[in-house]
Amino acid sequence: MTHKLSRRDLLKMAATSAAAATAGLMPTIRIFAAPPRQDSVTLRFQENADSYGAVVEAFKAKFPNINIEFVEVSGVDHAEVASKILAQLAAGQPVDIGYAATEATQLYAGEGLALPLTQRALDDKDELAEYFADVSPTLVEGMMYEGDLYQLPRDFNAAHIYFNKTLLAEAGLEVPSEEWTKDDFTEYARALTGLGENKDSFGFGWTNRLWGSWTPWFFVNDTNLLTEERAPGGEAIWSTFYADEPLAEGRGGGWRWPTPQANNPSMVEALEYVVSLTTEGLTPAVEIGGGSTLDGFFVSNKLGMTIAGGFWGGALVNAGMEKGSFDVQFWPRWKSQRHQFGTGGAWILNGSGSEDAAWEFVKFNTATDVMLMIPWMASASTTPVRRSMNTAEYWGQTGIENWNVFYDALDKRSDTGPIPAPVFSIEMTNIYTRFTSLATSGELAPKDALDGMQAELEALYARNG
C-alpha cells in the first residue's frame, strides 16, 4: 500500500501540529500568567537599570515583596517613545509603570490606559503634602486630564534660550536681560553669525519637533497651534494641596485644545519670522529630530543660541563644554513673553492588578533623596519639579549663572503653559513637523504650509470626533 501526502495534507498536518504545540504550551503560559503570590509582585517599569538601579535597590529595601523589572524604551522624542509603548501594548507586553511626558499624558489618560490618581493622592495627602508644596501647580495641572490627576510630575523643561558665551564674547555681547525682545534676539542672531575660527557660526539653531522647535515663537506671539481652555474639575487637588497658593487660583482639571488654528495671522507671522532667520542665513538648515546634531555644533562654538530647557545644562558639560561657558535667559518678548513647557512623570497601567504596588513605587519616587539617586537627575541633566532642588549648588554643576529662570518660568510667569498635546498628539505632531519642514525648506510659503497644516488638523479633529 502506498500513502502519498499531498500539499493539502501537509498543510493540515502543519496546522494541526501548530495547534497541538500551542495547546501544549497553554499550561506553561497559564503558569507564567498566574497571578503572583499576594506577598510578591513584579512590576514592569519603563526605565533602565543605569538610571534607576539605585532607586529600585532603595525601594526594594523598603518593599522587599515588590520586584521591579526594567523595560527600556528609547526614542528621539517623547512621541516616538509613546509609539513604542503602544507597540508593546499591542504585542501584549504592556508596562505596569510608564513614564510619559506631556506629549503622551492625555493619550494614555484619554484612552483609559493610565490609572486616575486623584483619589489615591487624596487618600495619602499627609504623605504627599510636602511634595505638592514643593511643586508648581502649573506642572500638576499639566498632568491632569478632564478633572483627574494621572501622573506625579518628576521633571520638566520650559523652553529657554541658551547662549554660547565664547561667541558672545567674540561679538562683544553680554547675556541679555530678562526683558529682552524679539528684535533684540534678531540683532543677537546677526551678531553671532559668521564668527569662530572658520567664521562659519550660526546665530541660532533649532530642530523641528513639538517641544522647542518654533513653538515658543508662537507662544510669545500670543497664540497657539490649537485653541486652549481648561477642563472643569480638579478642585479636590487644588483645595487639598494648594489652598494657600496664589498660582493655583483659576486652575481647572487639565488642559483642553478644542480646535486647530494653525493658520491664524499670528501663527503665520511667527512662522514667517522663523523662516526669515533661515533665509537670512542666521539659522542652519532645520532638521527633524531630537536636536542631537545641534549639541555638537554648540559645543564646538558653531552655534550662538539655541532652544533648550534645564536638561541641556548637564548634557553640555557631559559633552565636554566647559562649565560657565554657556548661559540661559528667558525667551524674548514679542507680543507677550508666555513660555511653553513640557513635564513628565510616572503613570500606572489601569487594570494591571498591581496598581497598589505601583502606587507605592510612584510615591517613593517623589522624595528628593530618591530623585537624586538618578544619575542624570543628580548631574543637572533635567529640571527637577521640586522647587527646593533648583538651587545654586545644583545648577552650579553646569556653571549656568541665570539658572533661576528655569523655575521662574513657572513661579514668576503665571501664563506659562504646556505644549499643545491632545489625545491624538502623535498624529498632530506628525502633521505639525511635516508642514513645518515644508516651510523651513522653502518648498512652501509659510502661509501655504500653515493652510495645509490647518486642513489636515481639521480632518484629524473630525476623525477623532
Partner: protein, 319 residues
C-alpha cells in the same frame, strides 16, 4: 502491494496508529521516511505559520476593522480601502518608493557587477580578499547606525561632504532638507550599506562560471566588451535575476534610512510606503488602515516580482 506485518514489539501492537507508522513493510518504511522528512521541515513550517502566514492573515482581517489598541476592533468593511484609494499621501509614498527602488537597484547592480568583475580579474589574490572583506563590512552595520552617521555627514551646513565639496567651489547642497535631492541622498546611503551583499552575489556568480566556456570564447576570438556582453553576461543572467529580484523586494520595503535621516521630509518628499504603514499603525493608532496599506504593498511586491520573472524569460539564460 499489500502490507504485511512481519514483527512488532508488543507495545506497538496495542496502538493502531503506532502500528501503522512502524509497520515493517515497504509501505511502512516509506511512511516512516516521509514522516521523518516532515519532522525535519516542521520547524520551518511552524515558523512560517506563526511568524509569516499568521500575521499575514491577521493583517488581512485587520484591514476590515478600525482598531486603535485601546478599544475593541470595529468592523468597517471596505472603508479602509476606500480611504486608501483617495489618499494622495499614500500614492506619494508609493511614488517615492518606486523612485528609490529604481535609483538604488540601478546603482547597486551596476556598481556591484563592475566591482565584482574587477575583483574577479584581479591577479593579486590577497588584495582581492581584502577588497571582498572591505566591501562587505558595511552590510554588517545596522541600518539605523549607518543612517545616523551618514545623516551627520550629509548635514547641509556642518557636514563633511559639503565641506569637501566646498573646496571644489560647490555651494552647500541641502542633501536632507530639499525635496530635489533628498531621495538621491537616501539612495546613496542605502547603496553604500548594501553594495557589499550584491557584490558578493555577483562575485559568487562569476566564480562559478564554467572556465572551459570562457576559454573557448577566447579561442574563438571573443575578448573585451564582446566577451562580456556575449558570454559573461548570459552566463551570469540567473545571478543577475536573483540579485535584482531580491534587491527590488528589499528596496520596496525602504524604512530605516528615510525614517532616521529625514522622518519622511521635507513634507512627504522622502516618505516611503512602509513609513506610511508604520505611522498609520503606531503613530496614528489606526492599525486597520496600516494593514490596508500593508496589503496593498504586498500586492505590489507580488506584481512587480511576477513581472520580473515574466520578463526574465527573454533574457535569462539557464543553459
Amino acid at each position: 502491494m499489500s502490507s504485511k506485518v512481519i514483527s512488532q514489539p508488543g507495545v506497538y501492537r496495542r496502538n493502531p496508529v503506532a502500528r501503522w507508522l512502524a509497520a515493517d513493510t515497504m509501505a511502512g518504511i516509506k511512511r516512516q521516511r516521509m514522516l521523518l522528512g516532515y519532522l525535519f521541515i516542521a520547524p520551518t513550517i511552524i515558523g512560517l505559520l506563526v511568524f509569516v502566514i499568521g500575521p499575514m492573515l491577521g493583517s488581512f482581517g485587520l484591514s476590515f476593522y478600525k482598531w486603535n489598541i485601546f478599544r475593541p476592533p470595529e468592523f468597517i468593511g471596505l472603508d479602509n480601502f476606500e480611504r486608501l484609494a483617495g489618499d494622495t499621501r499614500v500614492f506619494v509614498s508609493f511614488r517615492n518608493t518606486f523612485i528609490l527602488v529604481v535609483m538604488t537597484v540601478v546603482m547597486l547592480e551596476s556598481l556591484a557587477l563592475a566591482l565584482a568583475l574587477a575583483v574577479y580579474r584581479m591577479a593579486n589574490k590577497a588584495f582581492a580578499t581584502f577588497l571582498r572583506t572591505a566591501y562587505f563590512l558595511p552590510v554588517l552595520l545596522s541600518g539605523a547606525s549607518v543612517a545616523v552617521t551618514l545623516g551627520y555627514l550629509f548635514n547641509k551646513d556642518f557636514g563633511v561632504i559639503n565641506y569637501y565639496l566646498g573646496f571644489l567651489g560647490i555651494d552647500n547642497i541641502p542633501w536632507l532638507t530639499s525635496s530635489d535631492v533628498v531621495l538621491f541622498t537616501i539612495a546613496l546611503t542605502t547603496v553604500w550599506r548594501n553594495l557589499g551583499f550584491t557584490f558578493i552575489i555577483y562575485l559568487g556568480g562569476l566564480s562559478s562560471m564554467p572556465g572551459e566556456v570562457l576559454e573557448a570564447a577566447e579561442v574563438d576570438g571573443a575578448t573585451g566588451w564582446r566577451k562580456f556582453y556575449r558570454v559573461i553576461l548570459p552566463l551570469l543572467s540567473p545571478t543577475i535575476l536573483f540579485a535584482v529580484v531580491t534587491d527590488v523586494i528589499k528596496m520596496l520595503q525602504f524604512f530605516d534610512e528615510p525614517f532616521i535621516m529625514t522622518r519622511g521630509g521635507p513634507g512627504d518628499s522622502s516618505r516611503t510606503v512602509v513609513m506610511m504603514m508604520y505611522e498609520s499603525g503606531f503613530g496614528n493608532l489606526d492599525f486597520g488602515y496600516g494593514s490596508a496599506i500593508a496589503l496593498l504593498l504586498f500586492a505590489v511586491i507580488m506584481i512587480v516580482t511576477g513581472i520580473q520573472f515574466y520578463l526574465s524569460r527573454r533574457w535569462v539564460f539557464y543553459g
